[in-house]
């Protein structure tokens, strides 16, 4: 059958395939669709693999994995509550410190700074984002922790010791050190993305506000309102970095699965536990519990991202109705 197709006909078909715009568009469309779907599939596959790997641990512990606070590899009892607590609290506190700072940086860079200052400053902020986390960890051990131990913690326990947050022996290593180092690490991410978001707000918005007699401050507020969802996205990215950060945190947090209100006490995070214990985990149940920990981290990340999305949507809707 194929013999009936002559050479010239073949060439024509080929020409059609390669030079017809429609087909090119089609291939392009399908290809990009494939890429987009593959991300989706990857997430599902990761979730499934983790679920599969942690099956025996899930079967044995069930929900008590999330509520039990003993993590004992010898007795093979695994409860992740203090580790989940440490992860979420350290990341949230880091965000609380980093968000206003990075917003300040972003507003200054996008709205206020003269160009000769803005360029080098932006460069430095981006440089901060590129430093490997182990360097932050080393800096934490040798600079931040001694400083916390000798100055910050004695001061805090002296002035605010009546609060449960600032009690205990000042070792330097602990939740406070982890929170501070995380806030420094997420600051460049939030600020550089927020700066880009602020810049992408049309100039007309500012000019209109100024023309109506608004002050610089008032026009900035309007720009910030426009950039709200973008800034929230930047914050979520920062949160993602904080919650998954392993090396720098494990070097300063004290690595003890403990729920304590005091910021001076050691704590532990999920990513650190996995990194620390995975290599030497020999029993099946132990490995399974560590993978389940990864699954919990995965789910928490998804929940937080979903919440952020919802928040952005609801804000956008409000914004539209008030317009």
């Amino acid at each position: 059958m194929s013999n009936t197709v002559t050479n010239s006909e073949k060439k024509n078909i080929l020409k059609k395939i390669f030079f017809s715009r429609n087909l090119g568009d089609l291939i392009f469309e399908r290809l990009t669709l494939l890429f987009a779907v593959s991300v989706f599939l990857l997430v599902i596959l990761m979730g499934y693999e983790m679920y599969h790997g942690s099956k025996i641990s899930i079967e044995k512990f069930g929900w008590s994995f999330l509520t039990n606070s003993t993590w004992d590899p010898v007795q093979e009892i695994y409860g992740a509550l203090p580790i989940i607590y440490g992860t979420v609290v350290s990341s949230l506190l880091a965000l609380i410190i980093a968000l206003p700072l990075s917003l300040g940086v972003a507003i200054f860079l996008a709205e206020v700074a003269p160009p000769w200052l803005e360029k080098p400053l932006s460069f430095l902020v981006e440089l901060l984002a590129g430093i490997p986390s182990v360097i932050y960890g080393l800096w934490g051990i040798f600079v931040l922790v001694p400083w916390i131990r000798n100055d910050i913690e004695p001061y805090l326990s002296d002035k605010l010791g009546f609060l449960p947050f600032f009690r205990g022996a000042p070792y330097g290593f602990g939740m406070l050190a982890a929170v501070l180092i995380l806030s420094i690490m997420v600051l460049p991410i939030i600020s550089s993305i927020s700066r880009d978001v602020l810049r992408s707000v049309p100039r007309l918005q500012r000019e209109a506000a100024l023309a109506l007699g608004a002050t610089k401050w008032q026009s900035t507020i309007i720009v910030l309102k426009d950039a709200k969802s973008g800034i929230l996205g930047a914050t979520m990215l920062g949160f993602g970095r904080a919650i998954g950060e392993t090396m720098a945190v494990t070097m300063v947090i004290g690595n003890r699965a403990l729920i304590s209100p005091s910021l001076f006490d050691p704590s532990y995070t999920m990513a650190s536990v996995i990194a620390n214990e995975f290599t030497e985990a020999t029993s099946e149940m132990y490995l399974s519990a560590l993978i389940q920990l990864a699954l919990v981290l995965f789910v928490i990340t998804i929940i937080i991202n979903a919440l952020a999305r919802l928040l952005v949507w609801s804000m956008e809707r409000k914004w539209k109705t008030t317009l």
Binding site: T70, P73, R149, R256, N276, T279
Partner: protein, 348 residues
């Protein structure tokens, strides 16, 4: 034309590949603690015989896993495989896994008491109570009693330990397990345990960093690490009641002391060893090899290498801060090495 060029390209690739393959290569993975001496050994051995060993220091757990799955030619571990793990490996690989001790390491108890300096004495019961959080002050009566000459401060003890799973922790907790009933029931032994008190540091350098920075702290690191970094460490009271300073010699002596009642498979802990001069917190690190290997060339190379490691290899140990095996143990290893077969045939 095209066909010919493709064929010639394939031939070229095959010849290159076969040239590369001519050099025998054995792959292994496992413990990080002996990685330094293993890479020295493999390097020296390659220069001498052109047999190449690839070793990946992925941790003992990983080593045991890969040996069980049969993805490597040999493994390495700091803690011996359990009976259950051995049975699993046998059912999957159809052959026994042998434990061959290669060198020894010791764990030293380091502390930071600037006004006390060198020469702190400790014993097992006190150490266990400190790490259980029962003894909390340096001038506790029990510590004072065995350190009559030292002026111990009224300072609280800051306990530090390893946060990552490690053979060092295994040896340390194995010792406390043997000397303290309380430790046995409350904590147990393992590469990671549920520490009752203290701060965790990642790796030897992490613990050493915690101890160096925190006055009044106590922790444990590998002997090699402590020697290299000039960290203060305590003399431990051994089973014979003598306070012994950790040195390569006192570690080797400890293995000598317990070699009499070692089981034939050499899966044995030598913590709290008998013998007048033996240091009590030490342990072997093992290579895991298959008793019957399917590839004859590899089996030959493995056996030759193991014999070399027991002989000339041991002379590299002290320079790299490991304790060499005592003669009795080397003999027992050689006996086990001789049982390795290739497809059921003995290896000459």
């Amino acid at each position: 034309m095209k066909f010919r060029s493709i064929v010639s390209a394939i031939i070229l690739i095959l010849t290159v590949a076969s040239v590369a393959h001519a050099q025998l290569q054995l792959n292994g993975a496992g413990a990080t603690f002996p990685a330094v001496i293993y890479s020295k050994w493999f390097d020296e051995y390659k220069n001498a015989t052109s047999v190449q060993f690839n070793y990946q220091a992925i941790g003992s757990g990983g080593g045991i896993k890969q040996v069980t799955e049969g993805t490597v030619d040999f493994g390495a571990t700091d803690g011996p495989m359990s009976d259950q793990q051995l049975a699993e490996a046998k059912s999957k690989q159809g052959t026994d896994v042998l434990h061959i001790p290669t060198v020894m390491g010791a764990v030293v108890v380091c502390y930071n008491l600037p006004n006390v300096g060198k020469g702190l004495n400790l014993d097992g019961a006190i150490l266990a109570d400190i790490f259980l959080g029962k003894i909390t002050k340096w001038n506790d009566a029990t510590i004072k009693k065995i350190n009559p000459k030292l002026n111990l401060p009224d300072k609280s003890i800051a306990v530090t330990h390893r946060s990552d799973g490690s053979g060092t922790s295994f040896i340390f907790t194995d010792y406390l397990f043997k000397v303290s009933k309380d430790w046995e029931t409350k904590v147990g032994k393992g590469t990671s345990v549920n520490w009752p008190v203290g701060l965790g540091g990642k790796g030897n350098d992490g613990v050493a960093g915690l101890v160096k920075q925190t006055e009044g702290s106590i922790g444990y690191v590998e002997l090699a690490y402590a020697v290299k970094n000039n960290i203060l460490y305590a003399n431990m009271k051994n089973k014979a009641g003598k306070f012994v300073e950790p040195t390569f010699q006192s570690v080797t002596v400890a293995a000598e002391g317990s070699s009499k009642d070692m089981p034939a498979d050499l899966r044995v802990s030598i913590t709290d060893a008998s013998g007048k001069d033996s240091y009590p917190i030490s342990g072997f690190t093992w290579l895991l090899v298959y008793k019957n290997m399917k590839d004859e060339a590899k089996a030959n190379a493995m056996v030759k290498f193991l014999k070399w490691a027991m002989g000339k290899g041991q002379s590299f140990a002290t320079d790299l801060y490991y304790a060499p095996l005592p003669k009795q143990v080397v003999k027992m290893c050689e006996k086990n090495i001789a049982t390795i077969t290739a497809n059921g045939k003995k290896i000459k």
